[in-house]
Symmetry: none
Subunit: 415 residues, 2 copies
């Protein structure tokens, strides 16, 4: 079953508002295993609404519209829908009661604008709004179901989940589907695609794969559809096992996992604590670690040793080490990690020193060169990476790589 | 001049990715005074791309496409564009060189997938990508200009601003307009609107004002259009002067300024250094300070004192102070700021301690309560704030507020 999402509002076309409604509905419909073929944002004009309806009605099983139902004059959606679906606007008693209740609850008197919100097309099924004033409206034409909903996100979400979906399930056969997100780190998209070439070739027809890259890793999305629900999810789990065999510890998590969440789980599970010694990341590793609620269970603190002097005085890095090998070196980053272990007496430490750029690069240490050391009670391991030329991306990748390294070291110790 | 934005990618249609590219381009085009009439997200299939092109080419002056150019097999946009604009795919030497350089800089060997990225349609003008592997492509047909760009946001933004806009200005008459962004901090949107009520009433007809709120402050966008370029910009400067009189030091910058960039300028101008003592922000202040290139000129380092023990041992906060007043208190945050001054011997220090939430709140110290101290050679000033209930937002606001406080203190010392 295919679907289109239409969001109405100049604030989206002018880039003043990020279209979170479309994103939310796209995710919901996909999880309900509709194929969302098109998402469109248009202005609140008769011309563009009619134009878009002409291209949609009869073509998609389901069309969802948000926005253009507010009390203000620039909202003409309802009138256009009434005409388009061969009806007219009439006052609806139930809706008027809802509007009245809503307005008076806020200590206001019902005004003409509010009253206008109780007008609904005769050609639709009214779906009352538990939160706001504008109701949702369900239309049917040429084998397309169309639902128009208010644009205020929290209103739209509640009415969609509590009222619209149950309503649609009465009149449509919802297809089955299963989705799984697999999080990878440490392997670029082109290499990932190469390593998964055969895997992709062997995928069953009712299973799709997509890559979602970012500096914090590449998500692999597995999506199966059609047939029995349980079989779909079993099918996906089989494929996930294959992926784990191919990608090993490049896979760090699933679903809503992030590097910092997974690292938090591993540290809490082992009742371990970590500290940081950050140079080029300037505190980003600490910020990531503490972005997870309850992080005080595994993070006590760190030193942002941006200058060499702080590396020496606070972390106890030897002056000679920096003189002989430089601040961005295996030797220095190892002493930084040791310094954090000593200073904070933690089970693990993360030390990062790199050339974030744009300045500071040299022939042997180009911009993006980054040394990361992971300290533990027994040993300190150092790794070098060559990221790109962009300061912000280099910093994000350095922090992400450091967290990924520690995750893998902890997991290796467990096994 | 009207425009359409088309974003390609199943990850948008399936709600995996929020379509920030469309939002960014809509904003940019609006600022360049194009009328964005339609924003569409479609899948990476020949059918839907051709279908959308048929509805767009010849109808809009400018069509921007992002996505569908990556190395993986699900990207077929380039082939479709080549056919649609009556060309064929050929290997482009310059692009191949860019791809090779990019891949090898990351320590990988060029593979067939990378090589495919050097294929470009004969019917387009190639716009090389300074950051990534996929180039942008400029086509023309039936009085429509169409630009296809990579989907990775930071790549797309840079190539659009640095390469595509200049290219388009050569071949299109951009309407005249002038824009100025005024950055404010420390005043909520409702209060801002109240204080600017008369100012807005008196605005000339060809000048528009918009508020763009975020945890890092509210941007005021002044936008004038039509007539002579210089007159438009003069007009805006007049209004900016009025704004400065009304808002005073709630205005911290203009244009591309950010709190961290402005603070960097102030510190460098006065040849001053700053250090940090962060608790609830976990390193975000340090990360912000070091996100600006050349930050070693004014930032030497800091301590992330997440646990009380680190506050005591590393920063020298008195155990009794934390016992008597708590970790989130005026007394503790002042001793943290003093500790950073002592430890790092800087001109200024920033100390932050708050209840980020969701746990840890109490009756007198609810979630969001945050103490910030700014230390200088002569004195240490502490301030308390009550932010909201969301951990991530509280942390961002705490870091932003701390930077804004230091900016104002430095500026006060100067005047």
């Amino acid at each position: 079953m295919n679907a289109q999402i239409i969001t109405i509002g100049d604030e989206i076309l002018q880039g003043q508002t990020l279209d979170t409604n479309a994103n939310y509905l796209a995710k919901m419909l996909t999880d309900l295993s509709f194929t969302v073929e098109r998402v469109c944002s248009i202005g609140d004009t008769k011309h563009s609404i009619v134009n878009t309806l002409d291209l949609s009605v009869g073509k998609y099983n389901l069309i969802l519209i948000t926005g253009g139902l507010g009390p203000t004059s620039d909202d003409i959606t309802k009138k256009v829908l009434a005409d388009y679906f061969d009806g007219e606007l009439v006052e609806n008693e139930e809706v008027l009661a809802d509007v009245k209740k809503f307005v008076e609850a806020r200590g206001f008197k019902l005004n003409d604008l509010n009253r206008k919100q109780a007008l609904v097309p005769t050609s639709c099924k009214v779906i009352r709004n538990p939160l706001g004033t504008a109701p949702a409206m369900l239309f049917e034409k040429n084998n397309s179901f169309l639902v128009s909903m208010p644009g205020v996100p929290f209103e739209m979400k509640q009415i969609f989940e509590e009222k619209v979906i149950p309503e649609l399930k009465k009149i449509m056969d919802f297809p089955t589907s299963c989705i799984k997100i697999v999080h990878t780190y440490g392997i670029p998209e082109s290499m990932l695609a190469e390593r998964l070439e055969d895997f992709e070739k062997e995928l069953p027809d009712n299973l799709k794969l997509a890559y979602l890259p970012s500096p914090e890793g590449i998500k692999i999305k597995l999506f199966s559809f059609g047939g029995h629900q349980k079989r779909l999810c079993d099918l996906i789990e089989e494929q996930v096992k294959k992926l784990q065999n191919i990608l090993g510890n490049n896979i760090f998590g699933f679903g809503d996992d992030t590097l910092e969440k997974v690292l938090a789980k591993e540290l809490i599970a082992g009742n371990k604590k970590v500290s940081t010694a950050e140079s080029c990341t300037g505190g980003l590793v600490g910020h990531k670690l503490t972005s997870v609620p309850g992080s005080s269970a595994y993070f006590c603190g760190g030193v942002v040793s941006y200058s060499n002097q702080v590396k020496i005085q606070t972390l106890g890095v030897k002056e000679s080490t920096i003189e002989n090998f430089g601040a961005v070196s295996k030797e220095t980053v190892i002493e930084m990690a040791q310094g954090a272990l000593n200073l904070f007496n933690t089970d693990y430490s993360i030390a990062v020193s790199g050339v974030a750029g744009p300045e500071g690069g040299s022939v042997d240490k180009t911009v993006g060169t980054t040394w990361i050391a992971i300290g533990s009670k027994d040993e300190i391991n150092a790794f070098v990476f060559r990221f790109g030329t962009r300061r912000d991306i280099n910093i994000r990748r350095a922090a992400a790589t450091a967290m990924h390294l520690l995750i893998n070291i902890i997991r290796k110790e467990k096994s």
